[in-house]
């Protein structure tokens, strides 16, 4: 690895880490109703919103069922609104290119995808959606789905926090939701959008410009309100692009600087939430252990991905391409990558995007080397390498409950976590939450691979074709949204199956986790004794990490072997045995 690549990785992680600490403390202050500097500006705004939605409703304390009901109902209504807008876009304003209504199955898939923060796209934005749809049905849920993830995590943190006056109370969904929107997402978006425009991202209501090219002929260049969407797309770890090419498109991501901004935006909130967790449960040492485990997994993933892409493949070497960087070119695997990002910024971006479940890409993952692509796949399978805002931390805590339970059994102690006994009910619920993920990935993947309507969508054959399908359902289940985009997802089968997997992946695990929160909140804290298994140590961090890897590996290893690993060996064997591997 070149020094430049090394330093790009290290500096980006350091900057993101440095922002995440104060940001995490700020989030904790917001949700513990402590004063922040922004109160004088935002209190009147929030007050107005509370008045409009019902001032007494936002004061109620909610147990886990009330909290979940508010969340589900709001999400359902928003999903219906999005579905309606997409289905009627032909009759709605700001449709300069006269796109027709989106067909019902695609509209279902898109509404399910954007309301759950997944942003899987079975359509190309510039060839399907009106400017009105891009704003009112795409940019809008990017805020609300991100807020949903955050508030659910916050409710869980409250359940684990010091008991004080809480009882079964997890807070008020509506109030948390509004405060996340205004205090965490709106303000940064307002100020960062102009910076992104300054780097070159368009922000206009003109739908398309016709250029008369230098060598003759014309080029029709679609544009629109792109920059504002890009900011919340990354800050909210959403990932859905204005254009089909997503953040590889020069309008979405014009320069290395815009790329850096987008990468950092993806990282800060999920990283900060770990800090917020530590503060809200009153155990910062535990948060540091968690942060350390997640950060180590991310560092390994980044170095593997950047290394694999820089190494290139025998196929590219055989095609007569330079494989080493130097002399004004970058070498490596440039298939599906943009020159301004090169190898390093491409691999970092896509690694971050699949770790933090954003799902935006600045290079074509389908064309990554087998190992580079596998890094993204594995991160979505584990789904807790920081993960999406809120839900990533929750998944990590879910593994933590298992680690406590298993370690407790091994050394013969009552499993306790943050002073709460972990008993049958919690472990049953956590097992359900854990099992949902592989079930909704592996069953539909297998089904697709043995059905003609599943296989006919493949863009590549052999193990890589298997990887495409496995990737699609993993991405949907993890609510990531990135794709091995050679797969044509806009078919009835994939629109419906991916849409359902997305909904299960999101709401099943959230409901199980809220149920655990409700159960833990109701428990009286137990006094820490000499017999208590300490969870805030590096040793337990290692055990936690091992639990994640063992459970993840056992579940998904067969799929990985048949997909990327088989492809890796086939690729190298083919070019070595035929004597052309140079």
């Amino acid at each position: 690895m070149s020094p430049a690549a090394f330093w790009q990785i290290v500096l980006e992680l350091l900057v993101a880490g440095a922002i995440s600490v104060p940001f995490g403390h700020y989030l904790a202050r917001v949700f513990q109703d402590q004063k922040t500097l922004l109160d004088p500006v935002l209190d009147p705004v929030d007050g107005l919103i509370y008045r409009l939605i019902g001032r007494d409703v936002v004061k109620q304390a909610m147990d886990w069922k009330g909290y979940a009901a508010g969340m589900l109902l709001t999400n359902l209504l928003m999903g219906l609104l999005i579905y309606g807008i997409l289905s009627w876009q032909g009759h709605l304003p700001w449709n300069p290119l006269h796109f027709p209504d989106v067909n019902p199955l695609l509209a279902f898939n898109t509404a399910a995808s954007f309301i759950t923060n997944t942003n899987w796209q079975n359509y190309g934005g510039e060839s399907t959606l009106s400017l009105f749809s891009q704003m009112a049905a795409i940019t809008f849920p990017m805020f609300t789905s991100a807020a949903t993830g955050v508030v659910v995590a916050i409710a869980f943190f409250r359940a684990l926090g010091p008991a004080r006056d809480k009882g079964r109370n997890l807070g008020n969904f509506y109030r948390d939701f509004v405060r996340v929107l205004t205090r965490v997402f709106l303000l940064p978006c307002l100020f960062i959008t102009p910076i992104l425009v300054w780097t070159g991202s368009p922000e206009t209501l003109t739908g398309m410009v016709t250029a008369h090219l230098i060598q003759g002929g014309t080029q029709h260049i679609p544009m629109g309100p792109v920059a504002d969407l890009e900011v919340i797309k990354h800050l909210g770890t959403n990932g859905g692009g204005f254009f089909n090419a997503n953040s590889a498109h020069p309008f979405e991501n014009p320069t290395p600087l815009s790329n850096l901004i987008e990468t950092l935006l993806m990282m800060v909130t999920p990283m900060a939430l770990v800090i917020t967790f530590g503060r809200m449960v009153g155990n910062r040492k535990l948060a540091r252990v968690m942060y350390g485990v997640m950060a180590s997994m991310l560092v390994v993933a980044m170095f593997v991905a950047v290394g694999a892409e820089q190494r290139g493949t025998p196929l590219l070497a055989h095609a007569g391409l330079m494989q080493h960087a130097g002399g004004g070119q970058m070498g490596g695997n440039m298939v599906g990558k943009e020159v301004r990002f090169g190898i390093t910024q491409s691999a970092i971006f896509d690694t971050v995007s699949t770790a933090f479940t954003t799902g935006s890409v600045n290079s074509a993952l389908d064309s990554y080397t087998p190992l580079g692509g596998m890094v993204s796949l594995v991160q979505m399978m584990l789904n807790c390498v920081f993960g999406g805002k809120g839900v990533g931390t929750l998944n990590f805590l879910m593994y933590g409950l298992f680690a406590v339970f298993i370690a407790g059994l091994m050394v013969g102690r009552t499993p306790e976590f943050l002073g709460k006994k972990i008993e049958k009910r919690e472990i049953v619920l956590a097992s359900l939450a854990l099992l949902v993920h592989p079930l909704i990935i592996l069953i539909p993947t297998a089904w697709s691979l043995v059905s003609p309507y599943g296989v006919s969508s493949l863009g590549n054959s052999g193990s890589h074709g298997l990887s495409e399908v496995l990737y699609a359902f993993t991405s949907a289940a993890a609510n990531n949204g990135s794709a091995f985009a050679g797969l044509n997802g806009n078919t009835p089968w994939y629109n419906v199956s991916l849409g359902l997997v997305i909904l299960f992946g999101r709401y099943a695990s959230i409901i199980f986790m809220l149920a655990i929160a409700g159960s833990l909140a109701a428990k009286p804290p137990v006094q820490e004794t000499i017999g208590t298994l300490k969870t805030d140590t590096a040793l337990f961090g290692g055990f936690w990490f091992a639990t994640i890897i063992v459970v993840g590996a056992l579940t998904f290893l067969p799929g990985l072997v048949l997909g990327p690993i088989a492809e890796y060996f086939a690729l190298y064997a083919h070019h070595t045995l035929s004597g052309v591997g140079r």
Binding site: G54, M135, V197, E203, A211, Q215, A248, G336, A364, L571
Partner: protein, 198 residues
């Protein structure tokens, strides 16, 4: 329950108005005033006519121009995207071999040489406006010959158009093909003018 429904409905409509309409329209207003060039797509005008966007690749073929990267979508901005061919795809190998063969047919002296990584691979967006400096310098001799310009002049032109990584570290050195070719056209016109002058 009906009260919960009312609250959820009002919250839905209110946040829709704020984030689905208010926020994007406000940003359009601010940025149209603050950065009209970038906010409208970084369009390049020659004599008042839009000849392209600085950020969107357009086709340059034949002699006398620098060529951009191959595109999986024929440089059509209405359907951006990559080839999405996998790393062991036989089709990818065929595409690369065909592009290399086409290049070698015009420039036989390249036979047996390794090419810069971006020269025959297609990009992620299909609209990559840039090429690497190595790619540009490799093309410089034949562009100079076709234009009847001294090689040193074309080299200087390329050097002027190379943009380094941000802060010297982030991203990759690159040359934007549209600006480079517009520069080329200007110096070629000047040279022609000078030759015709008495």
């Amino acid at each position: 329950m009906s009260r919960t429904f009312g609250t959820a409905l009002r919250l839905t409509l209110l946040s829709w108005a704020m984030f689905g309409l208010g926020y994007p329209l406000l940003e359009v207003g601010i940025n149209q005033l603050a950065f009209p060039g970038a906010a409208n797509g970084s369009l390049v005008r020659v004599k008042g006519q839009v000849v392209g966007s600085r950020l969107i690749e357009q086709r340059f073929t034949g002699a006398g121009w620098f060529h951009g990267r191959p595109s999986a979508v024929h440089m059509n901005p209405r359907s951006s995207g990559a080839s999405n061919l996998g790393p062991s795809s036989a089709k990818l190998a065929r595409h690369l071999a065909a592009r290399r063969a086409r290049l070698l047919a015009r420039h036989p002296h390249l036979a047996g040489r390794r090419l810069p990584a971006d020269m025959i691979t297609s990009s992620g967006s299909g609209l990559d406006p840039d090429i690497t400096p190595a790619n540009a310098y490799l093309q410089a001799p034949w562009v100079a010959r076709d234009r009847g310009l001294p090689l040193a002049v074309v080299h200087r032109l390329v050097a002027r158009h190379v943009r380094g990584p941000w802060l010297g570290l982030f991203g990759q050195a690159r040359v934007d093909v549209l600006s480079l070719n517009l520069g080329l056209r200007r110096i070629a016109a000047r040279a022609r003018h000078a030759r015709m002058a008495p």
